[in-house]
Symmetry: C2
Subunit: 339 residues, 2 copies
DNA sequence: TTACATAACTAATACGAATTAGTAGCCATT
DNA sequence: AATGGCTACTAATTCGTATTAGTTATGTAA
């Protein structure tokens, strides 16, 4: 790990017969201090001739910021990238970030012992700000950081006062509920996520609440937790199929569990949606190609990434944001499995 | 974008009543220069008390390396993250990277005007090395960099002499071909990718070659290009269904196109695999839950990310690698759609 | 008792770019 | 002819850490 020799402003200065100061001024197009156009051009020419690239570390040190932004993923390792959420977010963020000449540093944290990297990255100046994907609240870690003025954008509902760009999944869940009710389903099964976090539980509550408000409260035996995987949806559905009289529909809280449920239903010799309707959540790419095609909820995740990246960059630049919490709405996609 | 005041070694030095040198030595556990254990401890205590975090930029400047590694994704924007490849690679890399105290910088390049960021990141010292995902050869860009000793690992077959950790997709495709032949299929359709790159064309050739070697050359009208999406597989299959006599199987070069093809087959009132067998590529998560379940090829992408990250870190450390090109083998997953 | 090693430090410098504080030369006022 | 203002630069300093080159005090061997 030796140092790699690289072209410096000093070398350019010698070649061009000027001081390092002039090189810096010329290359940064600074017009605060007057420079002869000829000199300026000569410096630029020498720089390109030598293949000059500024040293990021030196620049960062003297300017006091890194031009990196961080995306922190806090999830158990087995789960990150298993749902399409992260790739979509990265897609959204990375476009924005590059347009503003920032770089994206992706850091994955999968256990509490690694949480210290969050303050370290900010305080160590590795990044100028963070986008934080989390299913847990991290008040004790984040509070001091925001108090110190570090820009942080949450992708999940945080405590009041923090900045956040979230997707209103409770709304999404209510969309699913209303659609089920509109289709005449009064007795439905639900397959939510486990391990149950505050956020996922809130979604479940929203769903239950929607049905309760419509006069069809959901009994506890209609709720069977899965773990994001199709297999878990399959197992959950099998137990739901024991209930008599049979529920007339199921809501899988992600598409993967929903296709698991569909398989269980088919294996039981029942048909979808005639015997049991199915509705999923995510609108993954296979959803229009299941048999029958899957009715589901689409969340604007790429947009979420864009908006979050944008908000972060504004905060870094010191711009005020119109609102601290931006909430994006999911959308109902009606296909064959529930219509 | 003001500078954020942070705790420095100088401040610790003052508080502990020692010189900054001692602080640096104590905090870095250096034993080259003798330090009194008491002093050492006092410095460490003051440091934790003040919440010291070293400035990454200063460290990088003086040490000559950043402790960042870069993952460069070169693909049209509409396509990155649309296949599961990238998330899998990131999963693999990020574990390795964090274990070695590196950070992962993800940079997405979606047009040739941005290619200059590759040399810039290396020459500017933003990263100590790169993992390069590309479907194109970039000789003119990469050559001078490797010549200057910058560590770069390719994820796709590069020119001789470069370091690479690749997946042997030609082998994977031959696996599919052998399985089809073993199942007695002699007249098959293929749905490869378009736009056709050298790499994807090589896969197609491998497939054709396998059939030709078995005495069943594949006529041109059996080859219908798709574009990664299920919809394109659907359309491709529709044209394949016009052929008489009907081919007895199709190979979709990814699972998404394969499920598109399956839909077309079902819509034509044919059954899988009795009338037409289907085989995919990728083993995406829905593959065990299609109807019928999808026979496919699984590529070890997470492992590819791990091995590539590992190789890069070794190269950065100056270690020699046993072999320049490491090739990982895909695996046949037999399910109902072709058995 | 001088020389000499060793422990335990401090001072000074380097890293590369940005920036602040000069400086020299020239022209235009007064 | 002294003053001020401008242009076009240079010199010096700064950022925070690592590292090299001292320095001082103390103990030990000759």
């Amino acid at each position: 790990m030796k140092k790699r020799s690289s072209v410096t402003q000093k070398q350019i200065a010698e070649r061009a017969g000027v001081s390092q100061t002039v090189v810096s001024l010329a290359l940064n197009n600074s017009y605060e201090i007057a420079l002869n156009d000829e000199t300026r051009q000569r410096v630029v020419d020498v720089a390109t001739e030598l293949g000059y690239v500024p040293q990021a570390a030196a620049k960062a040190l003297v300017r006091g910021h890194s031009s990196n932004i961080g995306l922190i993923l806090i999830q158990p390792h087995y789960q990150v990238f298993r749902d399409p959420f992260i790739p979509n977010i990265i897609t959204g963020i990375s476009g924005v970030v590059r347009a503003h000449d920032y770089r994206l540093l992706v850091e994955h944290i999968d256990n509490v012992n690694q949480l210290h990297t969050i303050p370290n990255m900010l305080r160590g100046g590795e990044v100028d700000g963070l986008v934080l994907s989390t299913f847990d609240t991290l008040e004790s870690i984040i509070e001091p950081l925001t108090k110190d003025g570090y820009p942080i954008i949450f992708l999940d509902k945080p405590a009041k006062g923090h900045y956040a760009v979230t997707i209103d999944h409770e709304f999404g869940v209510r969309l699913a509920a209303s659609h089920l009710l509109a289709c005449g389903h009064q007795d439905v099964g639900v397959i939510p996520f486990s391990p149950a976090t505050p956020h996922t539980l809130r979604r479940l509550d929203a769903f239950k609440d929607a049905f309760a408000s419509a006069g069809c409260p959901i009994p506890e035996d209609r709720v069977r937790f899965g773990n994001y995987d199709p297999e878990s949806g399959y197992e959950a559905m099998k137990t739901l199929l024991q209930i008599r009289p049979l529920p007339s529909a199921v809501f899988g809280m992600n598409d993967l569990m929903a296709i698991g449920a569909m398989r269980a239903i088919h294996e039981a010799g029942l048909s979808i949606p005639q015997d049991i309707a199915v509705i999923g959540y995510d609108d993954m790419r296979f959803a229009p190609f299941t048999r029958p095609t899957l009715t589901t909820i689409r969340a604007p995740e790429v947009e979420q990434g864009q908006v979050a990246g944008d908000a972060l960059i504004k905060r870094i630049a010191g711009e005020a944001l119109a609102e601290r919490q931006i909430s994006l709405k999911p959308q109902l996609i009606i296909r064959e499995s529930c219509q």
